[in-house]
Symmetry: C2
Subunit: 255 residues, 2 copies
C-alpha cells in the first residue's frame, strides 16, 4: 500500500484524488490546500488541512499545484528526505527543493473539472532521480490504471510543448472553423464527425500518412477559392502558414 | 427504389458504391469510369462501363470526380433533364451543365481507400435547384444511414473551408507534434489519448469553452520556455501565430 499526501486543489489534484480513492493499492492519507474551502466537499472522506506543519508522513507527496508554486511550496515543506514529486510538464525536477527525494509524475492529458476521467486514457510520464523512487511512482500510476512511460526532463518538456500543438492549437483551429461556419449560418455541428475521424485516423497511421487535401495536392484552384472566402486577415495568415507547412512536409512548392 | 449511376472511381465514389450496395432502397445500375481498370474489382457485382454513350437511365447520376472534371463531364453526358449531382465541397452547383436538373450531395468526411466507413458518421450536405430533387437526394442519403442537412452554395463552401482547418490543418499540427517529440526521442504515441480527448471534448462543449493552456492563461513563463525549446523557425512561427489567435479569441494581449 502506497500512502500519498496530495497538495493543491486544482483539476489535476482533484482527478488524482478521485482516481486514487477508487483503488485499494494507494491511499490518500491527507489533502492539503492553502485555502481549505476548496476541499470542503471532501472533508468527510479524507483528512484535510491548510497547515503545512500538520502534514502527515507518507510515501509520496504529490505537488499538484501551478508551475510557479512548485519551488516555493517544496522548500516550505517541514521535512526532508521524503519523496516529493510535482505533476507539471514544463517544470524541471530540480525545481523541487534539494532537501527532498525528487521526482515528477506528469499526466499527459487535458483535465476538465466536470467530466469524470478514465486514467486508462491518461499516460503518466515518470521521472525520478533514484531508481527505487521510480518504481514507487510507477506502481502508483499503474494502480490508478494509467499507462506509464519513463522520460527524462528534455523529453517531458517537448511532450508538454507538443501537447500544446495537439490540444490548445488544435482546439483553436476548431474555434476558427466555428467562426467561419457561423459567419454563413452553417452548422459547426456538421464538422464534429470529421473532427473525431481526424483524431481517430492518427491512432493507427502516422500524421504524415494521414494527410490529404488541397495543400498536399497543391490544388491551386481550391487554395485560391479558399483564400477568397476568408474575410479575417488573421484567418488568412493561419491558412497560408499551415498550407505552407503541409507543402514543406510533403515536398510541394510554397504558395 | 432510387436508381443511381456512379461516375468516378476515387475514394468518394468507392465508399458511396459500397454503402449503396448495402441498402435495398437504392440500387447502383451502372458504374462509369474513363479507365475501366479502376473498376475491375467490381465487374461481377455491377455493370461497369468506360463509354458515356452506353450510360443507362437512372434517377440520379452521381459525379464523384475531381473538382476540375465536374464541368466537362456533365456537359459530355449524352442526355438532358435528368438529375445530375456532384459530390464536391467547393464546386458551384451551376458548374453542372444547364441541360440537366442539378444538385449537390457533399459528404462532409475524410475518405481513405482502406477503411470501411460507417455513413452514420458522414453528414451529407444537400443542395438542389428543385424541391423534388432535394427530396430524392435526401432519401438517397438517408438510405445509406447519413444524417443530412440542406445547405446553400455559400454554406457548403465555408463548410469545405472549415473542414480544411479541422482536418488538414489539425493533422499538420499532429505532424509537427510528431517532429518535435521525435527530435528528443520522446514517443508521439503518448499524445494519442490527448488527441482523442481534444476531439471528444468539442462534441459536447464549444471550442471556446474547451480552451485551456498557457496561451489562454497568458502564462508568459511557459510561453517563453516553449519558444526556447522550438528549434525550427517554421514551428516557432506557427506557435506564435496560434498563440496570438487564442489570445485574440480570449481577450488577452498579444505575445
Amino acid at each position: 500500500m502506497i500512502s500519498v499526501v496530495i497538495l493543491g486543489a486544482g483539476n489535476v489534484a482533484t482527478h488524482l484524488y478521485k482516481a486514487i480513492s477508487k483503488t485499494d493499492k494507494v491511499s490518500v492519507v491527507q489533502w492539503y490546500n492553502r485555502n481549505l474551502d476548496a476541499l470542503k466537499t471532501y472533508k468527510n472522506d479524507v483528512l484535510i488541512t491548510d497547515d503545512l506543519a500538520q502534514l502527515k508522513e507518507a510515501d509520496v507527496y504529490l505537488l499538484a499545484v501551478s508551475d510557479d508554486a512548485v519551488k516555493g511550496l517544496s522548500s516550505q515543506l517541514p521535512f526532508e528526505n521524503r519523496l516529493v514529486v510535482h505533476t507539471s510538464g514544463s517544470v524541471g525536477v530540480y525545481d523541487i527543493d534539494q532537501k527532498h527525494q525528487r521526482g515528477v509524475l506528469y499526466p499527459l492529458q487535458t483535465f476538465s473539472k466536470a467530466a469524470d476521467l478514465n486514467f486508462a486514457n491518461v499516460p503518466i510520464c515518470i521521472e525520478a532521480l533514484e531508481s527505487k523512487d521510480y518504481h514507487v511512482l510507477k506502481n502508483l500510476a499503474k494502480s490508478i490504471g494509467s499507462p506509464t512511460k519513463k522520460v527524462n526532463t528534455d523529453q517531458r518538456k517537448v511532450l508538454h510543448l507538443a501537447a500544446v500543438f495537439v490540444n490548445n492549437f488544435t482546439n483553436q483551429l476548431y474555434r476558427i472553423a466555428h467562426e467561419i461556419t457561423e459567419s454563413e449560418g452553417a452548422e459547426f455541428d456538421l464538422l464534429k464527425p470529421l473532427i473525431l475521424e481526424t483524431a481517430n485516423k492518427v491512432q493507427e497511421i502516422s500524421p504524415y500518412m494521414a494527410q490529404t487535401g488541397p495543400a498536399k495536392r497543391n490544388d491551386k484552384k481550391t487554395l485560391k477559392r479558399h483564400l477568397k472566402l476568408l474575410k479575417d486577415q488573421h484567418h488568412t495568415d493561419i491558412y497560408n502558414l499551415l498550407t505552407t507547412s503541409i507543402q514543406r512536409t510533403h515536398g510541394r512548392k510554397k504558395l
